[in-house]
């Protein structure tokens, strides 16, 4: 297990591997959230002073309309949004991270509130120095608030999920085994970024191996290594796509 991965045993006995977000991703998510709350608070002040004609001072009742809501937006943004979105603030969403409890489950509202209460210590003496230091020092890259709440910040693998669905669709139309399917799919995905000579070499090797596996069952794509040498770049690509089935052209076209 690497330092940036936590393994949790799930109820089925299958290990759950959680990819831990490092200090960089954490900071990125925080900076986005910070900008959002500053912009929201600022926007409210603007609306209050221009549209509602409220004075921006604590010494009048106008503060209830102007400064107070802005202060609430700024200071209570994290606890309110984290509880409401179950640990996914807009910043965390954009950074591709989410809060989970140490057992891989969804954190409770108490845990999320505790996590935010300890921001007081994590933000000491300034710019979250204590929090960042503990992030660097702890194997699970957590700040004190996470220790108190029993939470982790993990990376969301949205790309993997999309990729899984694509493979599923391809698998429905192809006779290739899953590992061969993935290999062909990846070569086609990177086709344009590969050097023409290299991609032709890879494609020929791959097609020769697939033909050996498929044997006579796939006569249309079966050809000798001599013939493969004569094929053009575009034809090699077409043959690989043919192995993936009709949907492949749409994906890699």
């Amino acid at each position: 297990m690497s330092d940036d991965q936590v393994t949790v045993e799930s109820v089925t006995g299958v290990e759950l591997r959680l990819a831990i977000a490092g200090p960089g991703t954490r900071s990125y998510a925080f900076v986005i959230d910070w900008h959002i709350r500053v912009l929201l608070a600022g926007a409210w002040l603007l609306v209050a002073s221009v549209a509602l004609d409220a004075k921006l001072t604590w010494r009048s009742h106008d503060a209830l309309l102007s400064l107070l809501p802005a202060a609430i937006i700024y200071f209570l943004y994290h606890p309110i949004i984290e509880v409401a979105t179950r640990g996914r603030t807009p910043g965390k969403r954009m950074a591709g991270v989410r809060i989970l409890s140490r057992d891989g489950g969804q954190p409770s509202a108490t845990a999320l509130l505790l996590r935010n209460v300890f921001r007081l210590v994590d933000s000491l003496p300034a710019t979250y120095l204590v929090g960042l230091t503990t992030c660097f020092l702890t194997p699970q890259r957590i700040r004190i608030g996470d220790m108190a709440a029993g939470t982790l910040l993990v990376l969301d693998n949205a790309v993997a999920e999309a990729s899984l669905l694509r493979l599923e669709r391809l698998a429905a139309n192809s006779k290739l085994s899953l590992d061969a399917l993935e290999l062909v799919d990846q070569v086609l995905e990177r086709w344009d970024s590969l050097e023409p000579e290299n991609r032709a070499k890879i494609a020929r090797t791959l097609l020769a191996r697939l033909d050996t596996q498929a044997g006579a069952a796939q006569a249309d794509t079966h050809m000798s290594s001599v013939r493969l040498e004569d094929l053009s770049d575009a034809r090699l690509r077409d043959l690989l796509q043919a192995h993936l089935g009709p949907d492949a052209a749409a994906n890699h076209g």
Binding site: L68, L120, A171, L178
Partner: protein, 314 residues
């Protein structure tokens, strides 16, 4: 490969469950079935195609379903009631000695502050601002006429925000092995004693007492409770029982969490009293004392669970 067709259904299931707050029994059973199927697929994928996109995708899907399945039910009001009836009284009983110790620490610090200013009056500059000193030397409390300057509502909010901040800080400072909490409470006591000694020298002690009697008992008690919580937090790190330091710290923070929430709610009440009643000269001493004592009794009933205890049948 044969199971591949069920992955999209699992993805759709995850999206649907995530969007809704509650799930029916059928939906929950379906999700558990999908979870089991995915576990088998993931185990196979890890063996057959390790480090592949399929394995990574299944891993991601399995993690999401695991999170959704282990989601705690929403207790709503019942959770609050159970917290007030059982959790808070239990933790208060557990913290009885630290709470009394913190009250003692504040009392001793207040006496020290009183002695310091009574012996060296010039040291008041360490505890009070120039403006406050000037007011008292002219024979007025700094709180006099404050509601003519700042509206009561704003005053209440700024006071309650400040009090909640002090209490939360007293709790959080417990992470420094309890030393931060001790320092905070000792300083609060010292300032309180110093302020009383200073106003006493100018014949305003009764006026200050009159100002704080309505909100002070609960406010000071809550600070002692928050301090005791901080000490418990420090102790959980210094002397973990049967757990690692981190687990002990986490367990302690979770146990104390509901008590802190109650403290914050009580401080909201204190802020309202301090903003609307304490600075208002129309309230006589007797009504202020009644409010102060009554509010303290309500706090005590909440902490001990007596407010929600069932009366024995006659």
């Amino acid at each position: 490969m044969a199971r591949a067709g069920s992955w999209r259904a699992s993805v759709d299931k995850v999206a649907a469950l995530r969007a809704q707050r509650q799930a029916s029994v059928d939906e929950a059973l379906n999700a558990v079935e999908a979870y089991r199927g995915l576990a088998r697929d993931l185990a196979t994928a890890r063996r057959v195609v390790p480090n592949s996109r399929t394995a990574a995708g299944l891993e991601s899907l399995y993690r999401q379903l695991n999170t959704l399945i282990s989601r705690r039910p929403h207790g709503g009001l019942e959770t609050v009631r159970s917290s007030l009836k059982f959790d808070i009284p239990n933790i208060t009983r557990e913290l009885r000695v630290p709470i009394l110790s913190m009250a003692l620490l504040m009392g001793v610090s207040a006496l020290a502050g009183w002695w310091l200013i009574a012996t060296y009056p010039t040291l008041i500059g360490l505890f009070a601002s120039e403006d406050m000193i000037e007011h008292v030397e002219q024979g007025h409390l700094w709180t006099e006429g404050i509601i003519n300057v700042v509206p009561s509502s704003i005053l209440s909010i700024s006071i309650l925000a400040n009090n909640i901040m002090v209490s939360v800080l007293a709790f959080c400072a417990g992470i420094f092995l309890g030393l931060g909490t001790l320092y905070l409470l000792a300083m609060n006591g010292l300032m309180l004693g110093a302020a009383f000694a200073f106003v006493h020298q100018h014949g305003l002690a009764r006026a200050l007492f009159e100002f704080i009697i309505a909100h002070g008992p609960v406010e000071l008690s809550v600070i002692c409770i928050a301090g005791a919580s901080g000490i418990a937090l420090g102790e959980s790190i210094i002397r973990p029982v049967g757990l690692s330091r981190r687990d002990s710290f986490q367990a302690c923070a979770h146990r104390i969490g509901p008590l802190l929430l109650l403290c914050a709610a009580l401080l909201v009440g204190c802020g309202l009293i301090e903003g609307f009643i304490s600075p208002d000269a129309r309230f006589p001493m007797a009504s202020r004392a009644t409010i102060g004592v009554s509010y303290w009794l309500i706090m005590w009933s909440l902490l001990t669970g007596r407010l929600f205890a069932k009366k024995p049948p006659a």
